[in-house]
Each structure stands twice: as C-alpha cells, then as structure tokens.
Symmetry: C2
Subunit: 219 residues, 2 copies
C-alpha cells in the first residue's frame, strides 16, 4: 500500500526536515516548547516560510501528525498457513509492537498534544491521530485474528469486539498512565505474553484452552 492516491499532502524534503525538528521540540519540551519562533530557530528557516507551508499553527500540528504517520507503514504479513503456535507468535509480536509504539517518545508527545487540543478544536487533531496512527495497526491485528478464525483457531462473532478485548488485555490503563507521565513497563514481552495467553483462553479453540485457563489463572 503506497500512495493513497488522493488525500495525501506529501511534503518536500526540506519541509520534512522542518517537521522533524518540530517533533524533536515537541518531544523535548511539550507543546509550550513548540513555538513558531523556536521552530524557525531550530530548523534554520523563517517564520514566514512556516506560515507559507503550513498555513497556521494548527496546520503545522496536523502536518506533524501526517508526517509521523507517513514514516510508520505497517508491513503487511503474507498470508501464510496458520498454526496454533504461529498464531500465538504473531499475536505476541503484535502485542510487543503495540506496547513499543505506545511507549515511544514521539507517539506519547503527539498524543499529549492532541489530548490537550481536543478541548478547543473539536477534536480535529484527535481524529487525525486515530485515523492515521491507529487504523493501520488496528487493521493489521484484525486481519490477523480473522485469519485465525478462518483457520479454525479462533472463535468470535464480532472481530472488532474481539480486537478490543485483545487491546484491553495488552494495554490496560498503561497508555493513559504513560500519558500522565508514569514510566512504562519493565518487561513488555512478559505483558504481551500474558495478554495473548488470556486472549487465547477467551477466544481460542484448542482444547489446550482449558489447560491454559488453569495455567493462566493459577500461577
């Protein structure tokens, strides 16, 4: 999936470099550190150019989100034949990736920015962030569990609901806690493993489920 034909602004290399600096400033000092003057100074450009390229400050923020999203393209998995172990591996990989993404500096900074703006801009940035940043990873997971269902390894009616269950098991309240400033987990892999265990207990079809239930709750 490359050029989504329409709806892609796409920026020049120079503009990308400026957006990179903007992200750096945002990560380092939060929203208040991302001033037009400061960005012009950091990126060695003029404020006038900023306004010419991005319109106004909101346009700059939107461009930052679009730019960051354009960097993270999810690699579509080839449709290999799924086994129970393979499904578990892929689910755990997804869980680790998800935790890693959510804990990333830039992700946290952009989410904080969008949350802070959501009161005043009608959640425009929030929508953008969910569209560009999350739909990709959502699709990857939903495709995976639907593949698991077709292979007879998972059971559920509503793939969306099942995915939300998986998401909740993986993330719990960690994302909000990190947005509030708490440090992340010590061991993402361990959390991923336990979450996938629980998910397979709920939605897996293997008779191993029963054993896993004991193992999961019991230890």
């Amino acid at each position: 999936m490359r050029p989504d034909s329409a709806e892609m602004p796409e920026f020049s290399p120079r503009q990308n470099a400026v957006l990179e600096q903007a992200l750096r400033l945002l990560v380092q000092g939060g929203e208040k550190a991302l001033t037009t003057s400061g960005l012009a100074r950091a990126a060695n450009c003029s404020k006038e150019s900023l306004y010419k390229w991005f319109g106004d400050r909101d346009g700059l923020l939107s461009a930052m989100i679009a730019y960051q999203a354009s960097k993270v393209r999810t690699h579509e998995r080839p449709g290999e034949r799924l086994t129970a172990d393979l499904l578990r591996d892929h689910l755990e990989l997804f869980a680790r990736d998800l935790l890693e993404v959510l804990a990333g500096d830039v992700s946290l900074a952009l989410n904080r920015l969008a949350v802070g703006q959501s009161s005043r801009d009608g959640s425009k940035l929030g929508k953008l962030l969910l569209e560009h940043g999350r739909r990709q990873i959502d699709r990857r997971a939903i495709a995976l569990i639907e593949q698991g269902k077709r292979a007879g390894l998972l059971r559920f009616d509503n793939a969306d609901a099942a995915y939300h269950t998986l998401y909740g098991l993986i993330v719990s309240d960690l994302h909000v806690r990190m947005l509030l400033g708490e440090p992340g987990l010590k061991d993402n892999a361990r959390q991923a493993q336990k979450a996938v265990d629980a998910f397979l207990t709920l939605h897996g079809t293997q008779k191993q489920s029963a054993d896993a239930l004991s193992a999961f709750a019991g230890r």
Copy 2:
C-alpha cells in the same frame, strides 16, 4: 475512612465555590479558558485572593484536583457473604461505575489538563490525579476481587495483575479515545456485562466457566 488526619489541605467554603467555578471553566473551554482573570471574573473574586489562596497557577490546578477528589468518596461495601451471582453483580456495578466516572465531564477535563501538563511539570499533576482519583476506585475493586478469592469464587496469584486484567477488559482504549474527543459508548451496561463475563471466564472457579467460555466467545 474519613479525615486522613494529615496531608489534607481542605479549603474554606468560599474557596470551594471558587474551585467549582474553576472546574466549570475548565470543562467548558479547556485549559486555555482557565485563566486567572477569567476565573476571578467568573467567581466574583479578585486575582489577588487567588494568588493568596493557591500560591500560583499550578497551586490552583493542584487544588482543583484535590477538591474534585474530595467530592468523590467511594462507599466501602460491607463484607457481606459472597455468592457467585453476588460477585458478578458487584463486578458489573463496579464496571458501570468505572465507565461512568471515566466518561464524566470533570474527569475528562482534569485528565486532559494533567496530560497536557505532564510534559512540563515532571508529571506532578498526573501523579496527583492517579493518587487521589484512581487509588480509591482501585482499592474498591481489589478489595472486591480479594474477597471473591477468599470466598473461593476467583483464582489468581497477583490481585494487582488480575485487577489490571479486569480494568483492561472494561475500558480497553475507550479512555484514551474519549480524551482525544471521541464520544463515549452507547451502552455502558452492555460493555460492563461483557467485560465481567470475560473476567469470570479467566479467573472464575465455577465449572460454569467452561460453559461461559463457549457462550462468551461463541455468541
């Protein structure tokens, strides 16, 4: 649990009224609407009094969180004899309460505020919010599931981990989505019910578990 003896600032009725106005301003217009001048005007007090009472703007924000937390006291459940049905009812009640609290205007506004500040103040507000706002509700749930374990209705090793599982099943990514400006759920009760079903499937001891597993995943 009444007066925590120490560490409670406690404000005068007049100051509480001012804080109420501050919360109103914050809910209506976000952080940028919460200016000292605006608050003084809305609350019919002088800026000088604001600074006398709360020190500076950060002190005001902290006071708002403390005040809001002081309004929400969790009602400790009496330690009645638990049955499976009773446990499920209490868990569902907790889940509905949690969803309702998280979706509340004031809660969302304060969380947005703390998230926005977390970049620049070393997450002071975030810590405050988690301490005052969440520990109460956390304790209530953990007490409940530990009671369930003592009654032989639940099984787990780490009550904290089990609680986080429950939390994730109830909330998933809903809290962050709402912080970003998305509307809440259409039916909190339905979500609460499904989450508790899943939680009991994972951690319940009833042989019903097996049936529930089918019912849960299959429907």
